[in-house]
Amino acid sequence: MESFLERNSFFSHLYRFFDAATPSWLAYLLAASVIVFVLVNGLMLFTMALIYMERRLIGRFQVRLGPNRVGPFGLLQPVADAIKILFKEDLVPVGADRITFNLAPVLFIFPVFLSLAVVPFGERYFLADLNVAVLFIMGVSGLSTIAILMAGWSSANRYAMFGAVRAVAQLISYEVPMVLSLVGVLLLVGSMSMVTIVEGQRLPLILLQPLGFLVFFMAALAELNRTPFDLVEAESELVAGYHTEYSGMKFGMFMLAEFAASVVSSAIIVTVFFKGWEGPLLPSHLWFVIKLFVVLFVLIWIRATLPRLRIDQIMAFAWKVLFPLSLVNIAATAVEVLLWPQPTTAQIWAMVGINWGVTFVSLALWSWLMGPTLRPNMPQLLRGATTGKAA
């Protein structure tokens, strides 16, 4: 208990505050509740910030302004959207399975909050420091697949069913490279605890694990259903995918959960690959937020640029590209860890060089192996119509 309080200053401040007036079990409960309250609402706040940022930045990427009417610079736009969505009629289709239909949005949103529990968002600021945090995140985030399948199946809509089936295939496939890409990190750091991962990084792990980062980032994009892997809710094909039939706040919960999942995934990326909260001069929370928004900006940038892939291409990409690449990464890292169990600074830089070399070589190799089908061809320009004068 004491050592936990020592390491978690966020919790210990609250605990000591409540401990002065109440018995210690109640103080513990109260302190935990306050932190959960702050975390959940903080995540909502960040989600709203992301929604605003996404709409404004995509506007700028598309050479327009984005929402700027509600409040100064349109800052209250997410609030206005939330109010609008709350007042919408709550429709349930006739053929729908009502219990499953109503349960799906709730089930979709809660794994997002669960995975936030183990993310440290500042020096000695976290809710829980599980020693199996990475495993926990992977396990919990897999739950959303069930919610999507429930939503799609219970809607009694064929578009929704298409979306759900696609989601199950895609999300389960991408779990594999996602987990495997983190194995390299675990090998280097030697712990699954998120706090230890941050503290154990002598260099930001993106330098040491470029291939692992690449695989994890793409798999995370796929898990988040963001472009170019957003075919679960591909609006030009499936209208809205698995949430076609949802309206009102139930739809709002799907939307909110997706954006919240983006925030949480970015937080995980920051923690694992960008040294988490650590940085010079500024306070640790601020560093965390800055890094978080940089990752979110890249997410938005990708969404603003790329078209989406097809279902078979996505599956092929997971199993034929990301999966072997993550195995290559594990092999390279394992050999390095075997060679230098306690690396000096020079050896770490040698590992950086080797890993970047491995990354480029393997990317080039896979590009070559996947064949020249993706090379564009240009049309020929002809001077005149060969068929001559029209009859």
Binding site: Q62, V63, R64, W301, I302, L306, L363, W366
Partner: protein, 183 residues
């Protein structure tokens, strides 16, 4: 190597990210409107109109309703019909401008407005009273004489009826002389 095309595309979007936006904030500012813009508020000069109903005949949709009274008043230009009703149903108008093309006396012109939204369809009909009342800012569509005179509806100036025609407006004395000589 794969990914290069994607990175190139992302460079393009980043370049556009830094460009100023090309949209305009509509109620505060609006796009530059060109003098020939075929707008909603038709401009009708009662002084020039003889009630010949060419406009109604040229209209592909037949949305101009014109009622004239032959026992009308005498004007400096000579006798003409008195226009009792001149209703344009904007709800069905497609702004092709053929009525303006058909008008031999340059009495009817396209307007330059575009903000005539109404809550009911019948309010979209412009009755003759409103046509009389409305500010006279005609579009220069099919009116090359206005362009050569340098008239531009964007300046916000109203155009008096004497200057809307394709010929110089003759004064009364000249008119009388011509009528006497020609007959």
């Amino acid at each position: 190597m794969y990914g290069i095309g994607v990175l190139k595309g992302m460079a393009v979007t980043l370049k556009n990210f830094l460009r100023p936006s090309f949209t305009v904030q509509y109620p505060e500012e609006s796009l530059p409107q060109h003098p020939r813009f075929r707008g909603q508020d038709f401009v009708w000069y009662e002084e020039r109109c003889t009630g010949c109903a060419s406009c109604a005949k040229y209209c592909p949709l037949g949305i101009i309703r014109i009622v004239t009274d032959p026992s009308g008043v005498a004007t400096p230009q000579g006798d003409k019909y008195k226009v009792l009703a001149f209703d344009i149903d904007l709800g069905r108008c497609m702004y092709c401008g053929l009525c303006v093309e058909g008008c031999p006396y340059d009495a009817l012109h396209m307007g330059s407005g575009f903000e005539r939204a109404r809550y009911r369809r019948q309010e979209l009909v412009i009755p003759v009273e409103e046509l009389r009342r409305m500010p006279k800012r005609p579009s220069t569509w099919f009116r090359p004489q206005m362009e050569t005179k340098g008239y531009d509806p964007r300046m916000g100036k109203e155009l008096p009826w004497q200057e809307a025609g394709r010929h110089e407006a003759p004064d009364v004395e000249k008119m009388k002389e011509r009528w006497v000589k020609e007959r």
